[in-house]
């Protein structure tokens, strides 16, 4: 059901120019999460799914920010496709790295706790740092 809604949003988003991209992204991700939690799909598939998800998001967001009627240079489209390919490759690698990291077993409980705290702090600090940087001209 969620997947159908997500796919519908993917189809509608280029026409609506923007608002459905987020809905599509979250619907598809939730569908995957549900399938993953209920154990219907192998863990490795997350790499492919992540690549697909980010590729779709990039394409939808790019189409939303394009003017309705515009004359575009060919180089712009070529650069965008190159960028998309680079992001897809990076996404696949990153997802694989995260999956590999899951298999790492730490020797002690203290190391694990320290790593957990560091990860939590990074996770909380990252949005703040990024948004602060983005607001600077």
């Amino acid at each position: 059901m969620l997947a159908a809604a997500g796919l519908l949003c993917v189809l509608v988003a280029p026409l609506a120019r923007g608002p459905f991209t987020g809905v599509a992204l979250f619907a598809l991700a939730t569908e995957y999460a549900v399938a993953e939690v209920t154990g219907h799909i192998p863990a490795v598939s997350v790499a492919g799914y992540a690549v697909g998800l980010i590729t779709v998001s990039e394409l939808l967001l790019w189409s939303a920010q394009l003017p309705r009627s515009a004359a575009a240079d060919r180089e712009v489209a070529a650069r965008e496709l190159l960028m998309l390919a680079a992001i897809a490759v990076a996404a696949a690698v990153l997802a694989a790295v995260v999956l590999a990291a899951v298999g790492v077993r730490l020797p002690g409980a203290l190391d694990a706790a320290l790593l957990g705290v560091a990860a939590a702090v990074t996770l909380l600090a990252l949005p703040w740092l990024l948004l602060r940087r983005a607001s600077r001209p």
């Binding site: 993953e36 939690v37 920010q65 394009l66 575009a72 995260v98 899951v102 990252l126 983005a134 600077r136």
Partner: protein
Amino acid sequence: MLTRSPKLSLYAAFAATSFLAALVLGRPELAALGAPFAFVLAVGLALPSPPQATALLRLERQIAVEGEEIGAELVISAPPGAHELQLALPLPDGIRQAGGERALLLHLRPGRDRTVALRLVCAHWGGYRLGTVLLRSRDLAGLRVRDMQASGDAPVRVYPRPSRLLSLIAPAQTQPFAGNRVARTKGEGIEFADIRPYLPGDRPRRINWRLSAARQTLYVSEQHPERNSDLIIFLDSFAEARRHEAGTLDLAVRAAASLAEHYLASRDRVGLVGFGGVVRWLTPATGTTQLYRIADALLETEVVFSYAWKGIDVLPARSLTPQALVVALSPLLDDRSVGALLDLRGRGFDLVVVDVTPLAFTTQPRDPDARMALRTWRLWRDALHFRFERLGVAVAEWDGQRPLAEVIEEVRAFRRFARITSA
């Protein structure tokens, strides 16, 4: 102005949610789903913010005629770090970009200027100021957007396209200056007028030898002299009927431009009286300079709402020269302009009224009362036409659909039998 794009918020929210879900559900695979989005955020925000860019619009020429295309150049200065630029040219209603595409998505080479050639179609007469260019650049990951506005000044004057006229309305009286028009009076000229017996003082070269030989007494031939005439274009700008992009004032301005061009080409003197909320005038003169003066005055014509009662007394005497032909272009919507025209006729001016009919801009109402009101209004307009015609004033309706030449012919046909007077 630098702003965050929706992509930044969406990716941040998605990455945070997926990480949180991974922690809560204890499923690290979900973190792998959000990791690429966090990566794009981290890398994108580490890159430099979108650079400033400027653009300048240069027009090939500043004068055009309605319907013509003019070339334009957009010179874009790309600073280091610029790679892509979205560009929009906000154009006024009367100007549009050929091809219909208003926005451009340009690839830039950092540090190098780029010139883009554009074609602008001058769709409607008027004076315009172009030069504002809207620019949008974004960073490499598309997370931040910088909107800029380049304000330039590129004025362009679009003159109304004159209609083709087959003939012109001949004035009742001509002026004393040489021109292309055959005067009604007799004098030195080319056009044969009459034959009369020789009188002492007549020049021998005017003797009609053939007739003199036949009658055995001297006769001389008389000619009509070639003179010019004065045309006063009386443009009523008290009120107009408008529907969508067209209106009676547009039609009147087009007709005025056509008449001015054709009469000036015939070496006549042409003057302009803009009679409305703002009264303006141009004294009659001849030549190309006068044509441009009239065209410039027409571009500035607009309906200015006013309650003040105005008669032709407000006009200086030199703007309405004696023996001039006055062609009024009016929708006959305002009592002040109707009164002024009747006053002109009462003062003996040779007057022609081109009724730029507002009926062309009305729709057939469904309501019976409204239909009755429309019919009554039509009757009132017919009565007004009849009132003018009774005074010897030719009235022709022009709806903009049929050629102006046809209207002129209608006026000429009426004037063949009308009582013509002159001031």
